[in-house]
């Protein structure tokens, strides 16, 4: 069966520090991968999505970047965190069929101080 791992679960980082959040998927190959941010327990903002290795689409220009160095690995990064980067970050995957649901990781609570 497929599983998605996202870590760390919580992170407190100072302003100006770098960020690296990692997401890996097991039990499937060539998935679509997504990074979402959720502010204050509300709506989801799509940050990046990837249809394959090295293929990243950015939805919102911002202080973050994403990379997909391996088929089932998706990394969210920042060189210098801002206070506004605080939030709940969710990784998700889906197969390449639009009529199938996405599967989400457990999320990372990032607090920038």
């Amino acid at each position: 069966s497929q599983t998605i791992h996202q870590w760390p679960a919580t992170l407190v980082q100072p302003v100006g520090s770098p960020l690296s959040l990692e997401c890996t998927v097991e039990g499937t190959s060539n998935p679509n991968l997504y990074w979402y941010r959720q502010a204050a327990g509300r709506g989801l903002q799509l940050l990046f999505y990837s249809v394959g290795i090295g293929q990243i689409s950015s939805e919102v220009p911002q202080n973050l970047s994403a990379s997909r160095p391996q088929d089932r690995q998706f990394i969210l990064s920042s060189k210098k965190l801002l206070l506004s980067d605080s939030g709940f970050y969710l990784c998700a995957w889906s197969v390449h069929r639009p009529n199938t649901e996405a599967f989400f990781g457990q999320g990372t609570r990032l607090t920038v101080v």
């Binding site: 996202q6 679509n32 997504y34 327990g41 509300r42 709506g43 989801l44 799509l46 999505y49 990837s50 249809v51 689409s57 709940f88 969710l90 998700a92 889906s94 390449h96 069929r97 639009p98 009529n99 199938t100 649901e101 996405a102 599967f103 989400f104 990781g105 457990q106 999320g107 609570r109």
Partner: protein, 116 residues
Amino acid sequence: AQSVAQPEDQVNVAEGNPLTVKCTYSVSGNPYLFWYVQYPNRGLQFLLKYITGDNLVKGSYGFEAEFNKSQTSFHLKKPSALVSDSALYFCAAVRGGYSSASKIIFGSGTRLSIRP
């Protein structure tokens, strides 16, 4: 622009009563429609989806949803609410026939609160 709307930020229902969480969409073609649930500090969990066929779809935990093409709606329902149903619910759509990245369009979420 493609969008999904959840007009209610919060829905309050007494335990045992029926519940409805509303969703309307503005997505071209024949979109695929989904409902997800999120418990505090957790990821989203899939509840149910509409692909084609019967307008009433059944999903996990006794939830069902009714697709209405003329009203472009996909409301989530449950005949008898439980306190454990209290959570944040998201409606989502994916444009039909889009075979590349299945870009998911989420609504803003509705917080469902069930009082004992």
